[in-house]
Symmetry: C2
Subunit: 469 residues, 2 copies
């Protein structure tokens, strides 16, 4: 693929303290990112195990090249963690730098305008699965550190990289690692680039994430498929039963019907709600251009930010069972399975929420069928206190690089590791996000805005400088 | 495959007028049936077009071998019809003999105990896709005529074979053919073997069939898939919407909620209900052994026979959309599609029923999504008057061969051609069925009871003899 860039390339930074290394290496950084994006490191599909390893090895070689020490793969039950460190800044804080090299599956493939694993630049965006989530953002962390090390031969603070390969499957490897290390992890704060800016050009720190409880609900009626002509009228239909269960979980206004579900929801403060109301937000643009829907739905009486950041939700992701091929088949399937997840907010507890969910599924399961609920994965919600040095310095660094005041937002998504860092290692997470709201995460035509890639490199480098000053 | 048969083979008939040809050729008939069953003539899957043609040519060659005249394939827009005739019995009635050589898809493959297209005999049953529906029953019609022609050099009545290859896709080819021929079809009645006996050893004539309206409902929310973390709380979810539509179509007791849906339902007569109540029926056996379910469901206040034979139903066959692979994917899909069919009873009209359905889907579609309904195929219900010569003679022939009084039942399934024969050609259909209730039609491990195969050959031959007497 040819790189065609507009005149006045975005990797020429017009910001204070710009570094010639970053300027000179823009095209190289871009080529490296493309190499990273070509690896189909899909963690949800077992057949991509070899690609997972290739991606881990690529990350390790990049960290080596950057000048980090003690670079190695931490093997375990799941996909390897990539570790690297630089600890020669005595008396300075130690930052744990986190990212992930695994990606979501690309389906539906036919909706991609260019192949998901052949990164393609159109305009100022690079399109590929993982471009924004999270290879682009993981790669910029490595390039920021590389730039400082290659220019100065040293870093202003101590760093430990921990790049995982199971973020999209809420993998247990890093979770076990952090749990085992606990307070011995030896870091003062974590730096994570896996979130997004509120709007193009608006530097953003994410201070809240929703948790998740991802389940599979199976409904079984018969011990074999039945003919809908012969048995229609007396045969329990697992797909009908699943529809009844699903509508028993959430009403037509989006209110979740599980008793006790909302009991521990902590409402946002008045100050936070006020700040959200000042964010530049065009609902029509959001609805039509970003989401591509005719109408927003959800709980009455809550704003868009409350519904996506501060309220728990429940979604069906797929229903398996019966016949979905071309044409018609008159089958009443023996069983059906649905993937259903809930997003949690502070102070909900994943284990309690799963218990309430499972009990309610049982309650709304119609007669004639049996249901069984399995927990696939879960993570707690997180909400970071804004009154700490690491967050405030990050805001200052971003404000300097982008030339605009940094805003604090939350995200509706889940980054389980944030909860683990706090719970097990006792450290806060700084979420500097460089994605954009229309990056199509987990969807066809995922992209990363290249100016954010290059500004992100510089912002992370400035953050380390200011933190070590 | 080796043929291993119990001592006292079932092809030795202990009935009056037994024919040495049938006795001598039992093993050959069985081998021929196996050859027929090995052809994966799945009409719902386009990639099986070559197998469809092979099956049609196999049927034609068997009809030629039987001694029929003017054997040829009638080509048209869909799959070929196989035609054959013998018209040298002046003054005798002409019977149109119908069967179909196409079969349902075999999925789910992993549930078959032996491969679906490698016919396997276990006990007194032969297992294969199409064994009972309808290759076994089509084949026995050809063998009955072959036996009479090879023994006597003539038939007692005139016959026209019309064997189609689109029954499982409610194909339009035979429908157009019958419509075009109309009263010029030149037949007095149709003979169809595509139904079942009420119980093993109980000769059965089916006089009523349900019709069908098979649809696809599509729900569209966004123009691309959305991340359930980022947009959950405001994004319309087509799978949730589909569940709401489905539960809006039928309540938890099985009552269809479409206004006007039941208006034209003709209740069974008192005499028919009385006859049904005398049928040998063990509900526990039916529920546990035949269906493999814990509980029967359906409209309160109606018996099992009423619910499956005389009441219309609505079933969901599959829901496509989102992620159903291994593991978890946090997607809110842009669209979802469901296959939903209704079974109709006399005097419901398919076109009217589809209109009522489509209007109600529109009515129960929640806000935030658009729905679209497509009619995939339809057929009217049929109910044959028992007071006619062709039906009475068939009952007498079956009673003679099986040695037990023939019963009249209905079937919950649909054979669209029965309605066409009546509507366009003005002829009644005699449905002599030799399948059994546990034959697993349209499901894994479909089988045909071999004693019924051989008795069926003899019963059809006796029917022709008695009709021509």
């Amino acid at each position: 693929m040819e790189l065609s860039q507009p005149a006045g390339c975005w990797y020429h930074f017009h910001v204070p303290n710009s570094d010639t290394y970053f300027e000179a290496n823009g095209p190289t950084f871009l080529q490296g990112l493309q190499t990273f994006l070509r690896i189909p490191s899909i963690s949800t599909l077992p057949e991509h195990k070899p690609d997972i390893r290739r991606a881990a090895e690529f990350v390790a070689s990049e960290l080596n090249y950057a000048g980090l020490r003690n670079v190695h793969l931490i093997e375990g039950e799941g996909n390897p963690l990539v570790y690297a460190e630089w600890l020669n800044a005595p008396g300075k804080p130690t930052l744990l730098i986190y990212g992930h090299y695994d990606v979501q599956p690309p389906d539906p493939l036919e909706e991609w305008k260019s192949p998901p694993f052949e990164p393609t630049i159109r305009g100022e965006d690079i399109f590929a699965r993982g471009a924004s989530d999270d290879k682009g953002q993981t790669y910029l962390l490595m390039k920021a550190v590389e730039g400082l090390l290659q220019t100065h031969g040293a870093l202003p603070v101590n760093v430990k990289f921990l790049i995982e390969g199971e973020e999209e499957i809420s993998g247990q490897h890093i979770e076990s690692y952090i749990r085992a290390q606990g307070r011995n992890l030896g870091a003062d704060a974590a730096l994570i680039c896996d979130t997004e800016m509120f709007a193009p050009g608006l530097p953003t720190l994410c201070i809240g994430l929703r948790g998740i409880v991802y389940t599979e609900v199976e409904v079984v009626a018969a011990d074999h498929d039945l003919h809908s002509g012969v048995y229609g009228g007396v045969a329990p239909n697992p797909l009908q039963a699943m529809a009844e269960i699903i509508t028993g979980l959430k009403d037509r206004d989006g209110r979740i019907q599980i008793p006790g579900f909302y009991d521990r929801v902590r409402p946002p403060t008045k100050a936070e709600l006020d700040a959200w109301s000042r964010l530049p937000f065009d609902e029509k643009q959001y609805r039509e251009k970003e989401m591509g829907v005719a109408e927003l739905v959800g709980e009455p009486g809550f704003s868009v930010f409350e519904r996506t950041w501060a309220r728990p939700t429940l979604e069906v992701h797929g229903i398996r069972g019966g016949f979905i091929g071309e044409g018609s088949k008159t089958v009443i399937p023996a069983r059906a399975t649905a993937k259903i997840s809930m997003r949690l907010v502070a102070d909900m507890n994943p284990a309690d929420t799963f218990r309430l969910f499972a009990a309610h599924v049982e309650r709304v399961t119609p007669r004639g069928v049996r249901s069984r609920v399995t927990l696939l994965n879960s993570a707690g919600a997180s909400l970071v206190d804004t009154d700490n040095r690491y967050l405030k310095t990050a805001a200052a660094a971003m404000t300097e690089v982008f030339g605009v005041e940094t805003v604090y937002i939350r995200s509706g998504g889940s980054i389980p590791i944030v909860g683990s860092f706090l719970q097990h290692a006792g450290i806060p997470s700084v979420m500097m996000g460089f994605g954009l709201p229309d990056d199509n995460l987990h969807a066809p035509n995922e992209k990363f805005h290249l100016p954010n890639f290059f500004h992100g490199i510089r912002a992370v480098a400035r953050y380390l400088e200011m933190l070590g000053a």
